[in-house]
């Protein structure tokens, strides 16, 4: 069996070289301010994609929740003396795109434009201003603060969002991951423009920065562009490490009443850190359990067998510190108890018995056969490379990827799930017009 598998990997590799599919060639260098740059030259399309990732996620908010998100949202408003209108105007006048986002671990700025010189001559200086000299004007600040407050209020319209927030609050009790990225009504109301300025000064520095560039420019051009863009950022001090997540001592079931027709159910526990040694076993295992749509057990049990839900899934979200292993579904209120039992039972059986030989084979075939699909556009390349570098994996990760998948065994999956997923400590949250315990 093993020989046959290896043969197939070889075949795929051959096929790839025949059709000219090459793994991306990632070039890495460091700027004098400590910023790490990863560049993937591409041919074919005159497009340049750039992502800047700062260690400036909401986990660094301290008591001022929402700080990271508000800072990030303000970057592409007025900057370097240009009004917010002028920033948008200049970027859009050449069809470029610029956006910012914040997660618990990172704050990112994403840029896309054509590689044409005239385009870059207009858009790049604006991008430079956004990164190096955001104005944080009080007009922009107040407007965005109001907008975030409204969206915090709007969270109350969505049982799914409420469930997610309640879940994080429980599984990350005592840890900064427990807080909503946007903050709460109280904390955001209390933020002032000086908080945001300070946050920017402290965290948007070379030592916290990873740059990923993908596109149709030469290495020489890429170096110049990057230098102009982030070379003048202060070196700064590296963000403090996010504290380790503490294990819960017991399981918990939490219900929130909400006047919806469906109950949203989430079942989770913190498990996976970036670049975790159990990654491949857990990844392939989850593919079988609930990560591969129709072929996965959870979809079979919840949707195909019982017609309980439209969407049922499980995933491992790797983060700087243990990210959640999460199972989720939503079903009409009357059937939530049945769904909950079926979901727990599916997980329990999987942990106890592990997958079958047939399931393992099928999932490896799917992952192997789908490998090329992960890298078939510049957009996807950028997201894959970003994922690799911020998680601290080595640059030959993709070269060894298929081998690592291949090395996963029935025993390694069972072992990893048994060691890492403890149902006695998992939290279940339900939000809807039904109480499981009634």
């Amino acid at each position: 069996m093993l020989n046959k598998l290896k043969g197939m990997v070889g075949l795929l590799a051959m096929l790839m070289s025949c059709t000219g599919f090459a793994l991306p060639n990632v070039e890495h260098w460091q700027l004098s301010n400590g910023a790490n740059v990863y560049f993937v030259p591409t041919t074919g399309l005159p497009i340049l994609d750039v992502q800047l990732m700062f260690d400036a996620g909401s986990a660094h908010d301290g008591s001022q929740l929402g700080q990271a998100a508000l800072t990030s949202a303000l970057l592409d408003e007025s900057a370097g003396g240009l009004t917010a209108q002028q920033v948008a105007e200049n970027i859009e006048s050449v069809g470029a795109q610029l956006s910012t986002s914040a997660s618990r671990d990172f704050s990112s700025i994403t840029y896309r434009s054509l590689t044409d010189e005239k385009v870059l001559a207009t858009a790049w200086p604006v991008f430079i201003n956004v990164v190096n000299s955001p104005d944080f004007s009080s007009t922009d600040f107040n407007r965005l603060k109001q907008r975030i407050l409204l969206s915090i209020k709007q969270r109350e319209e969505s049982p799914g969002t409420l469930a997610q927030l309640a879940l994080y609050e429980q599984i990350y009790e005592g840890h900064p991951y427990k807080n909503p990225i946007q903050g709460t009504e109280k904390t955001v109301t209390e933020l002032n423009v000086e908080d945001v300025r300070r946050y920017y000064q402290q965290y948007y520095v070379g030592k916290n920065l990873t740059v990923v560039m993908v596109g149709g420019v030469t290495r020489q051009a890429a170096e110049k562009l990057v230098n102009d863009l982030v070379g003048k950022l202060k070196t700064g001090v590296k963000a403090a490490q996010i504290p380790a997540v503490l294990d819960r001592s017991e399981a918990l079931q939490l219900h929130k009443d909400y006047p919806s027709q469906q109950t949203h159910l989430l079942y989770a526990t913190p498990v996976l850190k970036h670049n975790d040694p159990d990654y491949f076993a857990l990844h392939v295992g989850n593919h079988i359990l609930g990560g591969s749509g129709f072929s996965s057990r959870i979809v079979k049990e919840i949707r195909e067998e019982r017609g309980l839900a439209y969407s049922a899934y499980s995933y491992f979200n790797a983060m700087r510190q243990k990210g959640p292993f999460l199972l989720g579904l939503q079903t009409k209120n009357e059937r939530v108890a049945e769904a909950s039992t079926a979901l727990k039972e599916t997980l329990k059986t999987f942990i106890t018995e592990g997958p079958t030989e047939e399931e393992l084979l099928a999932s490896k075939k799917n992952i192997r056969g789908g490998f090329a699909l992960k890298l078939d556009s510049n957009k996807k390349l950028m997201s894959v490379i970003s994922g690799i570098v911020v998680s601290g994996r080595s640059l030959d990760y993709l070269n060894n990827y298929l081998q690592n998948i291949n090395d996963v065994t029935l025993a390694s999956i069972k072992d990893a799930f048994q060691r890492r997923v403890d149902m006695e400590k998992m939290v279940m949250v339900t939000v809807g017009n039904s109480d499981i315990k009634k």
Binding site: T19, Q85, V94, L114, L150, L162, Q164, K300, S311
Partner: protein, 470 residues
């Protein structure tokens, strides 16, 4: 956040309301850059003897391909009492054929490393697989099987219908803005089938029978009502040969002509309030406008397309500039227009007011913007910006073979014809400021307007919490 959301799209996200912003985010771009080699864009077409149209675009940037089968049937082909039928049938297409067990289709695609799904819109039902390019034959074999040998079984139907009802609860019943949009469409259209939701009314889902599906399948699933689109690292001759092999033997079907079901003229503004369990008020406005399919109005249609860009094509467009940043009456606001709809459609506005303002204020502010478009010509700079955005976006689109296939399949299926895709950029570039003023005056008028204000209700008492350790 959900990594794998389990999708069987109910509506094509790129085109409908929640998607206004998405539609417009496709418009980007730059001037002085139109020198993309033309043949990179070449579409090969072949029509098989049984009427199946095959479209191929070769793109060898990566050794992958996307294969899509589009059927000319969707929610707008349905009538009262059977709404949601096209979408439920789409679900059933994964539940077994004469030669495949329920779920086996998906299992084979998965074993070949593929990704697959399907979506139903008002004007089409489409199925797709994305795979490593050498697996094309697998997808052809399976799609040809379910084009002719679907086996509709009661057990699977009962279960799948429950799944679709859960889908409806998730997408509509428990989403205040989506449900408001449903009421909005039902108010805006009188005789047009666009008044019904794509996923169907809950009562119609409850009343649905297996026989209804069997009839619907027989009526619409045939090679002469379908288009096969393949984009990727393939050779056109090879795709044609495989299509001949697998789809060639399927007999065509005689169709009765599709009923026109034109919308009757609107004779005055329509207004409604929709109360929802929500926290933030929401505004929807829509004006009746023509689409590309109404061939005699092509110039107007492209002018309306540019007009939507002027209002909402990015953060520097008029609505965000004037209403979000300037007057701060909107927390968010957008405009959008689906020129590729099969039937007359709506030029839509939606938005949420800031805390200091009401939905009324927001409606007034939007109308002031519209009035200004009727009175004053847009500036050359604004026009140039839209055109630059469209040119750049035509390059960005090439980064996604899936998107390219979508465009071809959709244009062909709604009746516009895939050839229009190639002329889009030039048509947009030809639009003038005067034309934009003319279409604003002609179409954005009160008599053709529908307005819905969503009013949040707070009947909920404070959420009760209940937790205990086990």
């Amino acid at each position: 956040m959900p990594i794998l959301l389990w999708l069987r799209l109910t509506r094509n996200k790129m085109r409908k309301l929640s998607a206004i912003v998405l539609i417009l985010s496709f418009i980007y771009s730059l001037s002085g850059f139109a020198s993309e080699p033309r043949n990179a864009n070449m579409v090969h077409e072949k029509v098989l003897k049984n009427g199946l149209k095959v479209l191929v675009k070769e793109d060898n940037r990566a050794p992958v391909m996307v294969s899509q089968v589009w059927y000319k049937v969707g929610a707008s082909y349905e009538h009262d009492g059977i709404t949601g039928l096209s979408h439920v049938l789409e679900h059933m297409m994964f539940q077994g054929t004469d030669n495949l067990e329920p779920g086996e289709f998906s299992k084979i695609i998965a074993a070949n490393g593929g990704r697959e799904n399907a979506f139903t819109g008002a004007d089409y039902t489409a199925y797709f697989q994305t795979m490593e390019a050498s697996r094309l034959e697998v997808s052809m074999r399976l799609e040809s099987e379910r084009m002719q040998h679907l086996k509709l079984q009661e057990k699977e139907f009962v279960k799948e219908l429950q799944v679709v009802m859960e889908e409806r609860r998730m997408r509509t019943e428990d989403k205040p803005q989506s449900q408001t949009y449903e009421y909005f469409k039902a108010l805006a259209y009188t005789s047009s089938p666009y008044r019904n939701p794509i996923i169907g009314w809950m009562q119609d889902l409850e009343d649905m029978k297996l026989d209804d599906l069997a009839d619907w399948y027989k009526q619409w699933y045939a090679p002469n009502n379908a288009t096969l689109v393949v984009v990727g690292d393939v050779k056109a001759e090879n795709v044609f040969a495989l299509a001949e092999k697998y789809f060639g033997p399927i007999p065509n079907v005689k169709f009765k002509p599709v009923k026109q079901r034109e919308e009757v003229p609107q004779l005055g503004v329509r207004r409604a309030v929709v109360k929802q369990e929500a926290k933030v008020p929401y505004l929807l406005m829509g004006y009746k406008v023509p689409v590309l399919n109404s061939a005699d109005k092509e110039d107007d249609v492209y002018a309306l397309e540019v007009l939507s860009g002027i209002l909402s094509g990015g953060s520097s467009a008029r609505l965000p500039s004037n209403l979000v940043r300037g007057q701060q009456v909107a927390s968010s606001v957008s405009a959008g227009y689906d020129l590729n709809a099969r039937l007359e459609t709506l030029f839509l506005f939606d938005g949420m007011p800031t805390k200091q303002h009401t939905v009324d204020d927001l409606e007034k502010a939007i109308k002031t913007e519209i009035e200004s478009l009727k009175k004053t010509l847009i500036t050359a700079k604004e026009l140039e910006k839209i055109k630059a955005q469209v040119i750049a976006s035509s390059v960005y689109e090439k980064d996604s073979s899936f998107y390219q296939a979508m465009q071809l399949g959709m244009l062909e299926t709604v009746g516009v014809g895939w050839q229009k895709e190639a002329s889009y950029v030039d048509k947009v570039k030809a639009v003038t400021a005067v034309q934009i003023r003319v279409v604003a005056q002609k179409y954005l008028i009160d008599d053709h307007l529908t307005v819905v204000h969503m009013q949040p209700q707070t009947t909920v008492t404070n959420a009760k919490e209940n937790q205990h350790a086990e």
